[in-house]
Amino acid sequence: MTRNDDSTGAAAERKMRRQYLPFHEAAIGMVLAEPIRIMDRHVVRFTLPAGHELTDVNLRQLAAHGTEYVCIAVPDERSDEQVAADAAAAAARVMAIFEGADLSRPAMAALFERVLAYRSR
């Protein structure tokens, strides 16, 4: 029973993914995957923590601050097979883009690995 509970919890965690949206696509009830921290001339003007559920008031506040994007947590409805297929397709595309790159150079190698990880998610 305990094992089932753990598995269910792990599956639920695995099935959420981050998504970056232009602000005009943000809506009430969306859950922040990253904190929002709005600075103006090195002064923090507005913050919301990760895990916060956006409210109508929040959206008005963010609009007033000229927010351009939000990072939210969304359910990942894909099957494990689809996740693997999507990751493989994304990896193939990244490798084609980097085909002529000199991956012995530290910055290039690090960028390649980071883009590969980002796009393969």
Binding site: R60, L62, Y69, I97, A101, L111
Partner: protein, 294 residues
Amino acid sequence: MGALRTPLTREQVLAQRDALPVFPRVIDDVLATLDDPDANVGDLVAHVGRDPVLAAQVFSIANSAASHTRRDGKVRDLYTATSMIGLARLRQTTIVTSLAGFLRGALPPGLSPGFWEHSAAAGVCARQVALHVHQPGDPALIAGLLHDIGQLWLFRFQPELFMEAWQVAVRREMTIDAAERERFGVDHAQIGAWLAESWDLPPPVCAAIRHHHAPDGALHEPLVAVLHVAEVLSNALDLGGSAPRVGYLSDAACEQLGLRWDESTESLFGRIDAVSHFISTYFRSHGVSEDVRA
């Protein structure tokens, strides 16, 4: 291989410049508000009022923001609209709108839509990289949007040789800038910098355009590293352009910006993905891409 008998000179490039549309002077007003937010705001707002396309864009953004509030009715007054979207957004909107109009007018027939998709993507990346490393975003946005303006000049005024160079680069026989130097004696980065200087763009923007493929000799100018990395990122993230690919990334430029490409940079990638939608949609909706497909 064809080539010019003598290398292109600055004078030859600028002599043809008048065949391009007049460069939008409002960019000066935008840049003037950077250091002193109270300076020239009136001029900037007045310019918006004289430009129906720009004013419509400002009202559109203001009303989108108003949809998140409980305001009654649409925003119809320009000063209210400006105060709602804020000076930073007004500057960004003015840059994108005015440069999109300029680029639309400068388009030679037959140029691939990928050219403008790449310019828009580089603009987004440059602004976001600059903000990520705590530099001003607006000069970076301008530099990114205009970084390949030299290619436009070559395509417009030396189309046959330029297409030859382009095909060499597509076949991966050499880089585009090397193929251009073989044929013209200079590359598009140099031509773009000459044009930018002639439009009185700030020296950091001109330097960034000049060195965006080979930044290491000019890293004393911070925008050089920003634009170089941004241009690479726009290809690495597959944000637009015909057959994007990554060829060279300067270790020194990354080091100067403090970019380590660890997990913290994934939020930078995410911001770029989200915001790129704004500019690429704007370019498409205002006919830049459609014009070149025609």
